[in-house]
């Protein structure tokens, strides 16, 4: 759009501000579109001005989101964390930004207790708790610092088996544990004997079987499955039913041919097919690969990580790689299981918001209208949610096309400046963990990040932006 074209064609005008000026254009039959303008979040004006003046920003954001969307994701192997990530006994990964035992929430503590029991570092939950509190020989690190992501508590210990995903476009690798299913599970903070028994079986049977099958099959294109699942009613975060079944479809012949005892084959097929969330632990590392590719573009205001540890919500932005901007995590709103209610809910927890970070989950809610029953809404609200997210994102991902929106690409690449400019916070679909360690899942719903994460990121971006040119 050059000045020359401005003068050579009939004006077509975007208006923002006083209605009477837009009305005057309408009276002249000029095509116009009025911005539904409102002031930015109070207190952010100066930082917004500074960041929007950064001449690197438009190209940097375009680059970041192009990398995000061009990242591939192939499942190439399944290996124990000790081998895949070099984890040693006593070293645990967890979801969200860094956390210490003393600040850890109930479900995070419960998951760590479960991992201690599973690794046979303690014989009883009480012993595990004492050792974790003492901290001797115990190290806690975010999954995100180790090329990994973990749902809910996201606790990874050396004996857990990890899916290994590869982005050939950018040469990155990301990892995620195997999904345990719903109910009383480690990732929701449960550590009862059934939890540990299931983890033992997953290490003894499920992990090795998947390893053999994946190695026999060769790389499985997870990104392609995600593209199909969003056309089949999944959004890749709280609904993974189609994705899980497509994965099983791809792997089952190889599972059958690796020579498993028929009882194990049946239990593996039953476990995967019976756990609608099995594919979550593939959509998440696929999203992590997209996030890794987009990270580190100087001047970019695109969000590359949203993650919660049950105490804090943290985000990272492309232009300031590795820096966390945190604020207290909030309680999700939604539906509760059985007799549980909001008073039983722990604050938001899990790395799974990595899916929203790259345009899936709540951002693709329009693709999964069935999800709204899970989170207590109506089908039109699912469409609205996705449409609203276009207002804070910089691109649309054609690989994740949403049928009901005329195959419009998923809203991708959250721009910190647009979040604060519009006051629209990202919509995240999430599970809800019980706040007492050992409880497990109590519900599912929607949550928004605390706005302070975004104002803090904006301030840091402003501080890193070049000053306005001297006049």
């Amino acid at each position: 759009m050059s000045i020359r074209r401005l003068l050579d064609t009939e004006p077509r005008v975007v208006t923002a501000g006083v209605d009477v000026l837009a009305d005057a254009l309408a009276a002249q039959a000029v095509p116009t579109l009025a911005v539904d303008w409102r002031p930015p979040l109070p207190g952010t004006e100066a930082d917004l001005a500074r960041v929007l003046a950064d001449p690197r920003r438009p190209d940097a954001n375009a680059t970041a989101v192009e990398r995000m969307m061009s990242a591939g994701a192939k499942l190439v192997d399944v290996r124990p964390a000790s081998e895949a990530l070099g984890l040693t006994p006593g070293r645990f990964l967890h979801a969200g930004p860094p956390i210490t035992w003393d600040r850890a929430s109930g479900p995070m503590r419960g998951a760590l207790i479960a991992a201690m029991l599973f690794e046979r570092l303690a014989d009883t939950p009480e012993e595990a708790e004492v050792k974790l509190a003492a901290g001797d020989g115990i190290t806690l690190e975010p999954c995100h610092h180790n090329r990994a992501v973990g749902p809910m508590a996201g606790v990874v210990s050396p004996s857990m088996w990890m899916m290994e995903l590869r982005d050939d476009t950018h040469g990155n690798t990301a990892f995620c544990s195997l999904n345990e299913g719903l109910g009383k599970v480690l990732r929701y903070g449960a550590y009862s004997p059934e939890v540990i028994e299931r983890l033992d079986w997953m290490s003894a049977v499920l992990g090795p079987a998947l390893q053999a099958a994946v190695r026999r099959h060769g790389p499985i294109d997870i990104k392609a499955i995600i593209g199909q699942m969003v056309q089949m009613g999944d959004e890749g975060h709280n609904r993974n039913r189609a994705g899980t079944l497509m994965l099983l479809r791809d792997l089952l012949p190889d599972l059958a041919e690796i020579g498993l005892p028929s009882q194990d084959l049946a239990s593996v097929a039953r476990f995967i097919g019976g756990n609608d969330h099995f594919f979550l632990n593939l959509s998440m590392p696929a999203a992590k690969l997209a996030s890794m590719a987009a990270s580190g573009v100087p001047g970019s205001t695109v969000v590359t990580v949203m993650a919660r540890n049950g105490t804090d919500f943290g985000i990272q932005v492309s232009g300031l790689p590795g820096q966390w901007f945190t604020a207290p995590a909030q309680i999700p709103e939604g539906l509760f299981l059985g007799n549980y209610g909001p008073e039983d809910a722990n604050p938001d927890i899990g790395d799974s918001a990595i899916t929203e970070t790259v345009g899936l989950g709540g951002f693709s809610m329009a693709a999964a209208p069935a999800i709204v029953r899970f989170v207590g809404g109506t089908a039109p609200q699912a469409l609205e949610a996705t449409r609203l997210m276009y207002e804070i994102t910089v691109a649309e991902n054609p690989a994740y096309a949403i049928p009901v929106l005329e195959f419009r690409g998923a809203p991708t690449g959250i721009d910190v400046t647009r979040v604060l400019r519009t006051g629209i916070l990202p919509i995240i679909n999430t599970g809800v963990a019980g706040k007492v360690a050992g409880t497990g899942q109590v519900g599912a719903g929607l949550v928004r990040p605390p706005v302070e994460c975004f104002t803090a990121a904006l301030s840091a971006l402003a501080a890193a932006a070049p000053p306005l040119p001297a006049s």
Partner: protein, 516 residues
Amino acid sequence: MSRHVEIHPGMYRDSVTLMQISASISQRPGVRSALVAMATDLNLSLAAGMGFSLEADLTPSDLIVAIDAEDEATLAAARAAAEAALAERARATGATGQASDGVITPRTVASAASRLDDATLALISTPGRLAYLDAMDALTSGLSVMIFSDNVPVEQEVALKAEATRRGLLVMGPDCGTAVVSGVGLGFANVVRPGPVGLVAASGTGAQHVMALLDAAGVGISHCLGVGGRDLSAQVRGASTVAALDALDADPATELILVISKPPADEVADAIRAHAATLSTPVQFALLGADQPDLTEATAEVLRALGRPVPDWPVWGQTSDQPTGRFLRGLFCGGTLCDEAMVILSERLGPIFSNIPLRPEWALPAFDSFGTDVALTGHYCVDFGDDRFTTGRPHPMMDGSLRRERLAIEAADPEVGVILLDVVLGHGAHPDPAAELAPAIADAHATAARDGRQLSVVVSLTGTAGDPQGRDRQAEALAKAGAVVFASNAAAAQHAATLVASRTSSVSAEIEGAGR
């Protein structure tokens, strides 16, 4: 006494819309006061001044509805009217956040730009301290931008214009009130015929006046590109003027370019003139101020350059009345027109006091509520478009109530002989200014007549036959009310000066006669 305060968190309406709603609620019978406004610091202090107590934690994103009425029934009706007016604007603009089919309204310029196919321009009139955000959003979306907002910091203006230069786009403004692009009027703009003259204007009303005079002479314009009042300052260095000159030079419809501006900073003037000399299209300059040709003369020069005759500029009404009072009072909406009038008046009458004085020593004493309570003496001209009158109320080109109040005060002053007014028509201006001003002029004459005085009212009318208000209909209504109406602002000022001077000389003659 019945009071009501309600907060709508997160509801936003623009200030002009809210001022219109406030005014319409305030004018309802039985309503003592009403404020419908965003909870800015200014509006919160207004509300406090009106005796409303508000929560402490309001932000500018919250909308206040505060009404004080004589009784409950009046209050309820006023509340309903306010809610209806707010909902009306929502329907008209789609500003509901989302329509019933789940379509989300665009919340940013970038979002709107992506939805309006082949968008070419953004028109930004958001609050000045925030306009930069929206303007930058427009530029990075590939749109040229007109910034109507004022009070944009100059360093932000420089940054925006640097970005526009990088992208080959044009920034018109900030504080750009007028532009015409391919026949479309933006902001305050007159309906003019297409033609050979391209305007580059740092003054909105100056550009409107030249366009109206050219139109009266039968000459149209190709485009009028505003650049903002500071463009030719030492800080901004003519960034938009250069871009606009280049664009008009490349425009096949433009045969002659006229630059309308205050005299540029010295170092900028040379650069602009040197740049203009490199263009294939001839460039003329209409520089505003003392020792410069006035806008009427600059327009005549354009006509001569085009080989077109210079007409007698239209005049409506009787020009022969002889005022009783000895002082002139000018009450203006357009700052440039006020400025030009003061240059002409001061050459013939000496000091002209003003809130925008030609010389510092001619500054009017400070006044808070100029509408009512200040008695002054001497010749003076007031620019009602000055910031101190437009904070929290619409521009006088849209709403002439404050000026009409002052007109009545001046008419009652026995020392006042001549009242000089400007009226500006076109898109964005009041839909029928004569309907309000003509009765006020008739009242002014009646006030003077009751006191046995003769008052002269002179009007400078900037408008075209094609304007929605109709220039001739406006002129005739004003003339019928007893004004003499000039299409040329310079001619209006000259006439006013002549009336005052003739009064002075006839008084001198009387004194001489008495002495003999």
